[in-house]
């Protein structure tokens, strides 16, 4: 029963004539948000810069999904699919980072801030890794050539 009803509702929403005005409105909002993220990005806000940039990007993405891709007119299964895949993206991001955060330090990649081992990509550069940072003159730069 529900599939036929959903089809009808979706068809009705898509048929309803909106005029092109709302596309221009969304476009204006997207450009404004792009400028906002450009200027706040250039300020290099130390703590919440990344969070702010992601918040703006998510707002822009939601506008594109809802209005350009008509998710506001498509209900039910279509929204479920997109919602679930977004949820999976977030889960996939959290899990590997949780893994790295809880590893024993030597098990993390050398040169990273979660490791005490020297970076082997640029062994000659004392500033190359956290391991050597602060050392005035490393007597013997670690690692292989």
């Amino acid at each position: 029963m529900s599939v036929a009803n959903e089809s009808r509702a979706e068809e009705h929403n898509m048929q309803e004539h909106h005029g092109a005005g709302r596309y221009y409105l969304v476009f204006g909002a997207l450009i404004a948000l792009t400028l906002l993220t450009y200027f706040t990005g250039r300020m290099h806000l130390p703590t919440f810069g990344l969070a702010l940039a992601l918040l703006i990007a998510t707002t822009k993405g939601t506008l594109v999904l809802l209005f350009f891709m008509h998710l506001i007119d498509h209900k039910g299964a279509n929204r479920l699919i997109m919602g679930v895949s977004v949820l999976f993206v977030i889960l996939m991001m959290i899990m590997p980072m949780a893994d790295l955060a809880t590893r024993f330090r030597p098990a993390n990649p050398a040169g990273s801030h979660l490791s005490d081992l020297p970076d082997l990509n640029f062994p000659a550069n004392p500033k190359s890794s956290t391991y050597n940072r602060g050392a005035q003159e490393p007597a013997q730069p670690g690692g292989h050539p």
Partner: protein, 219 residues
Amino acid sequence: MQPSAHTAGTAPVPRLAAHFASLEVQNHAARLGMWLFLSTEVLLFAGVFVLYAVNRYLFPQAYVEASKLLDLTLGTVNTVVLITSSLTAALAVHYAKEGQNRKVAIMFALTLLMAVGFLVIKAFEYQHKFHEGLLPGHHYFGSVQLAGMPNYFAVYFLATGLHAFHVCVGMGVLTWLMIRAIRTPNLGPNNYTAVELGSMYWHLVDLVWIFLYPLLYLV
């Protein structure tokens, strides 16, 4: 005026497949299929974003330094170009619903023009990176020798390369739709599914860039 109305001697447009109860259900199925496909695309790009997140977590300093080496102006111009191309793709659907086939073709032509512009700017950026030695892995010979820098550029080229590939595929789809709107101008209120789904693919390409732009260029 009903451009998709059935006239004697020609096949009705759009055709209703025998296994669908009605045109409504057929259109719903087409959209659902497109959303399923787009969700696999989202998960494909999720792999790239996870790679970014993990490596940024490991090398926060290198990611901040490396993002400063990108050309922010070109990146921002490309963002505006892609958002504008999304607008014209959305307008194409609007005109397809109204049965204005010529305008559909014009809108897609504009979208394609901006897509070419995007790729040209991207090519200039790539050329600059090659020149400066900002390359993945052991190909890296950039001046900033910081742990995680080659890693950033591996992610950069993977993410923007995969995205540029999607731009090319999208251009193919939109070219086909543009030619179709010119050759068989039968788009109308009952027949615009192809335009709608092609346009959705283009919006996904825009959606991915909306996230790539701040992550690679800004923060």
